[in-house]
């Protein structure tokens, strides 16, 4: 069970449960149109990758991701009330309601946000890492990347740059087997995505079982340490999203078998099993964590509902030219 204490393992579990409950409620609120927008991209199924990998970071390290960002923001420690308020497009949201679900960001915890232009955040990750190297402050950037995004020019340019400049960045590919409706084998000549690291001279940490948060943690810990001392590292996490690309996508049906396979290895269940193995009496602690998570989410929803809408003044605020 790696080098983590029971308290730390429970904390990991707490984060995953909080993400799951947060998103379950978001899905309901989206169906009720309390949360708006054309898209709601859920992270469920992938919590083990986000939480496991971020557990290897220090608070001063940086995290950046694409639009599937709720779980990443929560795990990086952004305020849950303000995250929920952003989902609602409220003035008290982390992005003042301007960003919404896909563009959560909280500078105070080094969560650089979600990005809707696929791949667009990757060179930014390299730039953030450049600052760390420039100032020698030994901060690592953990950059999440979808499998689909690895086919974009941004990815290649960023990887190469990070290698030639020895930037302290961990490239974490979340291979959930699809980019929208396109399976990896259809979009990518070398479907073992981690192998791309080799071509750029980046340290390849291989594939990891993304449904097991402890496996992810173990490899992330090594990769983060490597990045901090030497330069870029790459990990490919094999994971799965349970919902369509967005929750309202009815595109991707007839995947039941594949889905069942992954659901049987749900990261929350895997973590519960780890914990029970360690301490057969842990059950009640897990139940208490779940209850607390539900309460946190309900409180966040109340906060969001009671928060004011932005006004016209907010439309023309944060403009400088």
């Amino acid at each position: 069970m790696a080098d983590l204490t029971k308290e730390q393992l429970l904390e990991m579990y707490r984060q995953m449960v909080l993400i799951r409950r947060f998103e379950e409620r978001c899905e309901e609120l989206y169906a009720q149109r309390k949360i708006g927008g054309v898209y709601l991209h859920l992270y469920n199924g992938q919590e083990g990758t986000g939480v496991g990998s971020m557990f290897a970071l220090k608070p001063s390290d940086h995290v950046i991701t694409a639009y599937r960002d709720h779980g990443i923001g929560i795990a990086k420690g952004a305020d849950v009330n303000r995250l929920m308020a952003e989902m609602f497009g409220k003035r008290t949201g982390v992005s003042g309601g301007k960003g919404g679900s896909m563009h959560l960001a909280d500078r105070s915890v080094n969560f650089w946000g979600g990005y809707a232009i696929v791949g667009g955040h990757l060179p930014l990750a390299a730039g953030i890492a450049l600052k760390s190297k420039y100032n020698d402050d030994k901060e690592v950037v953990l950059s999440f990347i979808g499998d689909g995004a690895t086919n974009n020019g941004y990815f290649h340019e960023s990887l190469n740059l990070s290698a030639v400049w020895d930037l302290p960045v961990v490239w974490l590919i979340e291979n959930n087997l699809y980019g929208m409706g396109t399976p990896v084998e259809v979009s990518t000549g070398q479907p073992e995505l981690h192998k791309r690291a080799i071509a750029y001279g980046i340290k390849d940490f291989g594939r990891v079982d993304g449904m097991d948060p402890l496996a992810v943690y173990a490899v992330a810990k090594e990769a983060v340490a490597y990045a901090r001392e030497h330069g870029p590292a790459l990990i490919e996490s094999i994971t799965y999203r349970y919902k369509g690309h967005g929750v309202s996508d009815r595109l991707y049906q007839r995947r039941e078998q594949e889905m069942a396979l992954y659901k049987a290895r749900d990261p929350l269940t895997v973590m519960e099993d780890h914990l029970k193995q360690l301490d057969p009496g842990v059950e009640s602690a897990l139940a208490a964590i779940d209850a607390a998570a539900r309460e946190t989410v309900e409180a966040a929803i109340r906060y969001a509902e009671e928060s004011p809408d932005p006004t016209y003044d907010d439309l023309i605020n944060h403009i400088y030219a």
Partner: protein, 328 residues
Amino acid sequence: MPEMTLIDALREGMDEELARDPRVFITGEDVGKRGGVFRATMGLFEKYGEGRLVDSPLAELSIVAIGIGAALAGLRPICEIQFADFIHPAFNQIVNEAAKFYYRSAGQWNVPMVIRAPYGGGIGGGLYHSQSVEAFFCHVPGLKVVIPSTPADAKGLLKSAVRDPNPVLIFEPKKGYRSIKGDVPTGEYTTPIGPARIAREGSDLSVYAYGMMVHYCEKAAEQVAREDGIQCEVIDLRTLLPVDKETILQSFKKTGKALIVYEDNLTLGYGSEVSAILSDEGFNYMDAPIKRLAGADVPAVPFSHPLQEAFMINPEKIAHAIRELAAY
């Protein structure tokens, strides 16, 4: 004439062009088996197969650039960009390669390609699924830019674009994909790239618009006719590049007052050029300042619903602007 939605008309146009010319193929993200993110190509994969409905990796630069290469070499690509907001990675290829090739090769090569992209806000898309990008491309000689507002024009302009020997960008008002319905002629026809369309006749004031805004302007025009007796002429510009100066000026000659409506940001938006044409060549007919009603100069359409509504132009805002101008 059967009634159709805008997106069904586009699909029918693509279907007919695929059937007519074996050189025509469609590429883009999920355009094949999945029929496209908005279902614009639904059913075409089954009909024409994977050789002609080509799913691409997530790579807009390449979707366009491979289209350019294939077009240069003799094929007739239709490249789909899922949202106009994602066209920016391909900007270089469009502006530096597609637009310049015919000119720089002294006519040796031309680039017969179509780039389709849904644009515009009002659908809860937020910062990166709402943009209007037409002004960037209308600044570039060497491109043609069309924006249909009716199903008949959507199909007709698409067919013209496919047959055009030069690169044509079609920006499609996605908010109207399914809400805009209209009659589409039966049988073979095309809508020529070039002429604007008079959507509503009137003598008091000219309203110029394209895309979704045409419908909002028509609505506003009806309202002010009913309530105030103001008769607006609504011009659907539909071909932004090349621009139909003649129709623009003819209407202005009649009314002497111009309101230009677009949902893109105000400053240096397409309406700025229409305004310049009017003041340049229509000065003698001018009875009032030329007015533009457009999106606020903010970096993007924000997510929050009240902010989006504050940004978006709607029939009420247009009616208000019409009344002000009419009273001048």
